[in-house]
Assembly symmetry: C2
Homo-oligomer: 219 residues x 2
Amino acid sequence: MDSGVRGRPPTAQAFVAGELRRAITSGELRPGAPIRQEALAARLDVSRVPLREALRMLEGEGLVEHRAHRGYVVAELSMDGLREVYRIRELLEAEALRVAADRLAEALPEAEEAQREVERAAAAGEVAAMAAANRRFHFALTDASGLPRLGRLIGSLWDATDAYRSLYYAEPGNRERVVAEHRAVLAALRAGDAEAAVRRLDHHRAGAVAALGAVLERP
Amino acid sequence: MDSGVRGRPPTAQAFVAGELRRAITSGELRPGAPIRQEALAARLDVSRVPLREALRMLEGEGLVEHRAHRGYVVAELSMDGLREVYRIRELLEAEALRVAADRLAEALPEAEEAQREVERAAAAGEVAAMAAANRRFHFALTDASGLPRLGRLIGSLWDATDAYRSLYYAEPGNRERVVAEHRAVLAALRAGDAEAAVRRLDHHRAGAVAALGAVLERP
DNA sequence: TGGGTCCGGATTGGATCCAGTATCCACAGG
DNA sequence: CCTGTGGATACTGGATCCAATCCGGACCCA
């Protein structure tokens, strides 16, 4: 038995992939930034081989892009791309919620717990913590569908915008809006009204698109 | 300038990825079969490094699965998984068609061309050619939406069932059914009725699920 | 006889080294 | 002054070699 260190991945690839996800979603690596393999590998204390495999994983998740002989770049999102991602999320998350309709009561405690953390982090201005809790909130709902592929797909759509999400959480107004919209969703869920929850999630997303668009259109 | 050889990929990874896709979708590599890296690398005359990166790509596309220190396996699909994939396709392809509604006239020639090839291959019993033409047919429609992410997503859902599709094309009855259903879709498109096309595509998919289910439930 | 342990082969994961390609800049020519 | 060409350089892509892990079977012991 090894551990004591809690859950360090069993392969270097997995470790590197995790670190890169964190760096990208936290804004440490900005969209559009090129990824210099040698430097990164040295920094993480692995060779370039597992780094490259990790980058291929992230490419599949839409977090980075690759061009032959020119290397990897942190994925950028155009305004059109942003709208597309959110439109697809609208379709898939609505489906997830409808499938989960009868099981939503079971998912509620988890969502409420996540929401408490969202509110705490929002008030404290802890952007990274808020992003993480926000994700927990939403996935508590969609995962209740019990459809693993659907969940993974929705997850990858979230990933595609994570790099920007932390940027727009930086503004207090956006954080407050998110908190309020989450509460509206929760209210619908407590009332057992899945369709109302779907509508309020749509509204929530529309707000996010507007705010993200503002972030995205500046340098 | 090099060529003459038509379009051999610029990297070994891309070449290997292409070969693997072909092998999997053609049924040469069966679902559930383990992938022995050394043997495959030797067979394709590359080292294991580009092979592993190619496998990571295919993992992102859902064609293979990976477990640490135990290697890659051609992805298997349960009956539930199959239904899930087709349900998601239903949502996304309907969206693509609706977005493309006004541009469908432009996409028609490509679709009709593909359909001619589908019919030829169906009659000749050329399974692989039929699978390829079938894909061209469907993507002529969805690509008309002009939404690249949506197109890629739908593509990856197709990939997930490709390994089985060629198995069920092996039966003449299934081939004839596909041809007939495609004709119905085309008729709706020629009439400029996108909603009717959506309904007929739904019907087409339902037929596929039934037939695939039969294939999937036997050894 | 059943179960657990330990060893050996096979296979995957990782590091280092080498080759090929793209980019950038200097410089020649118009 | 601008354009195009050539070469230097830095980076990515690939091959080989080594280490770590898993799996099957023999063996020992209760």
